[in-house]
């Protein structure tokens, strides 16, 4: 039988709601489906009572609710089994996973089980003349886009970066909900046991949702300066982020890292302070709406991607900015 259908693995929050990236991927899948004439199938590892009706407003023709998860059981192992099993059963032509921490682990495990190829961190998709999925991802640190296909294995699989694809309002008719129950959680619990589970809070967790992000790099020379920049960020309603170098120094924690090995973000305004613009960093922020760069070196790569450029030392810039925005005087 010929494989058909574009499947999207949904990302479900602990409270049962869907993460934004789910709608973004449904939007990407719908655009592909318009080219190939296939249907869009959502795969959601969630409780069977989970309200999935919202998926039909964003392009899903049907959903399979994989209801194996059990409280107190680590979901990854059982999700690998459940997602692999439903893919074997329904034989889609394409499966898209979110490139969240979770999806970037789930996808390769599923692909390996099904003997398929898998492309990581796609930022665009297309359909080629033969009807194959073209998986487009930044490579070599982000200065180059690689176009990749999986010519010999089906389904074609890829993870897609959050905050890149556009959510589309698209109401489908005859939305179909199927519930698939099984005992994968028991199987999974035999190999891995979950002992504790806690949510990490604080604004470091939220840089991907922030509208304004103020990011610091190695041109910011002390913890005190970072703290002051943090205050500046707060005063303009922004969140503090950083480049990899700052994480390596231990000055800020990894969830704040922007770039290829950190998060990809697209805030409305992005400040790059003391960041030279290594290709890896650019990969994580260059799609931001408006980019302001501060660097002592006018030839720094970051300026090639910026709207406003301040050729100044970070500390001097900050002092002037504090004065202008009346941060210290109040």
């Amino acid at each position: 039988m010929k494989n058909s259908g574009i499947a999207v693995v949904c990302s479900v929050e602990t409270d049962g709601s869907f993460k934004n990236v789910t709608f973004e991927l449904l939007g990407a899948a719908r655009s592909l489906a318009e080219k190939t004439g296939e249907s869009v199938i959502a795969l959601a590892c969630a409780d069977e009572n989970c309200d999935v009706s919202v998926l039909k407003d964003f392009g899903a023709d049907k959903v399979f609710v994989l209801s194996h998860r059990k409280a107190g059981v680590f979901e990854l192992e059982s999700d690998v089994m459940a997602v692999s099993s439903i893919i074997s059963e329904i034989s889609p032509s394409t499966v898209l996973f979110p490139a969240t921490d979770y999806g970037r682990v789930l996808a390769p495990e599923v692909a390996a089980r099904l003997h398929c190829g898998i492309t990581a961190d796609c930022t665009d998709f297309d359909i080629d003349a033969e009807g194959r999925l073209v998986q487009i991802r930044p490579a070599l640190g982000g200065n180059i886009m690689a176009h990749i296909i999986s010519p010999s294995t089906l389904p074609q699989m890829a993870t897609a970066r959050p905050s890149v694809f556009k959510k589309r309002e698209y109401k489908t008719e005859n939305f179909e909900k199927n519930i698939v129950g099984n005992d994968f959680a028991e199987l999974a619990e035999r190999v891995l046991k979950l002992k504790e589970n806690s949510i990490i809070t604080g604004d470091s967790a939220k840089i991907e949702d922030a509208k304004i992000v103020v990011s610091v790099g190695s041109g910011v020379s002390s913890r005190e300066l970072i703290q002051r920049i943090g205050d500046f960020a707060k005063s303009i309603g922004g969140v503090l982020a950083c480049s990899r170098k700052i994480v390596e120094k231990g000055w800020l924690e990894q969830p704040r890292q922007v770039g290829q090995s950190g998060k990809t973000i697209t805030p409305e305004i992005y400040f790059a302070i003391g960041i030279s613009g290594a290709v890896q960093h650019l990969a994580g922020m260059k799609s931001s709406g408006f980019i302001v760069a501060v660097n002592i070196d006018k030839s720094a790569e970051i300026f090639n991607y910026s709207d406003l450029g301040f050729v100044m030392d970070a500390e001097e810039w900050l002092a002037s900015a504090e004065k202008f925005f009346k941060i210290r005087q109040e």
Binding site: P108, E109, A120, V279
Partner: protein, 260 residues
């Protein structure tokens, strides 16, 4: 206890320049290093060895003969032995073919070790896919994004893992594959003894036959994904510049944007 650490030699990606016309890397003058995340995986192996005396740490890498350099580095840091999987047949491997080759190499090097450690990703490819595929091919469970080994015994371990803004405490019986999220901020310095040992250490080189690989699953022909095109990305290139003399004008622009 046997631990295998998978390591990779990578170019200093922060120093790489791109030939935008040809769409290729300008490698000239760019040094090769041990992938930093692999160093975190090694650190974790050493911390386990401290808690479980008699642990043997083997490192396995795949690459050209020059990848011996990262084995030397790992031995200098304290690894017991090292293997380089090197064969022309491995050239052009994607994640799946790489994971297959590594899984053959692991079995040959250490049978089924109790623990396999990997960094969370390599800084050149950045896919983070090889560990998961390797675990599946070996048929063992994986715990990703490990930040701390909480407890370890002869048969099992308990670790902390951090992902998507959650912190989990998980335990597994051996064998298990772990990917390591981050290291401590204190980089380990090679001891004098290990440095001398690394200097004269010769890693074991394995080709496809030595590792008992199925040739069809190797290299380009064993890779289900194909790069069909490379397209350079254009820069924005319309930045308006300010300096200390006129920075207020720039701030005014920012203010406008903030109020918009």
């Amino acid at each position: 206890m046997n631990i295998v650490v998978l390591i990779k030699q990578v170019p200093r990606t922060d120093k790489i320049k791109i030939d935008k016309e040809k769409g290729t890397l300008i490698r000239k003058g760019v040094e090769s290093i041990l992938n930093p995340y692999c160093e975190y995986a090694l650190e974790t192996a050493f911390s386990i060895k401290k808690k479980v005396p008699g642990t043997k740490i083997s490192v396995v890498t795949m690459g050209p003969a020059s990848a011996e350099a990262v084995i030397e580095r790992a031995v200098a840091l304290g690894a017991d032995e090292g293997f380089v999987l090197s064969d022309r047949a491995f050239a052009g491997s994607d994640c799946r073919a790489t994971a297959y080759t590594l899984s053959c190499g692991i079995k040959k090097a250490a049978g089924m070790p109790e623990i396999i450690l990997c960094g969370r990703q390599a800084i050149d490819g950045d896919t983070a896919q090889v560990p998961g595929e390797t675990a599946q091919m070996l048929g063992i469970p994986m715990i990703p994004y490990v930040t701390e080994i909480v407890d370890i015994s002869e048969k099992s371990l308990t670790v902390k893992s951090e992902f998507d803004n959650k912190e989990l405490t998980l335990s597994a019986e051996f064998p298990v594959l772990l990917t390591v999220r981050k290291g401590s901020n204190n980089r380990r310095m090679p001891s004098l003894r290990d440095t001398f040992r690394a200097f004269s250490y010769k890693p074991l080189i394995m080709n496809a036959q030595d590792a008992e690989c199925d040739k069809e699953k190797l290299g380009l022909s064993g890779s289900p994904t194909r790069v069909v095109k490379i397209v350079p990305v254009a820069a924005k290139g319309n930045c308006r510049f300010f300096d200390s003399g006129n920075c207020e004008e720039g701030f005014a622009e920012i203010e406008k944007k903030l109020k918009a």
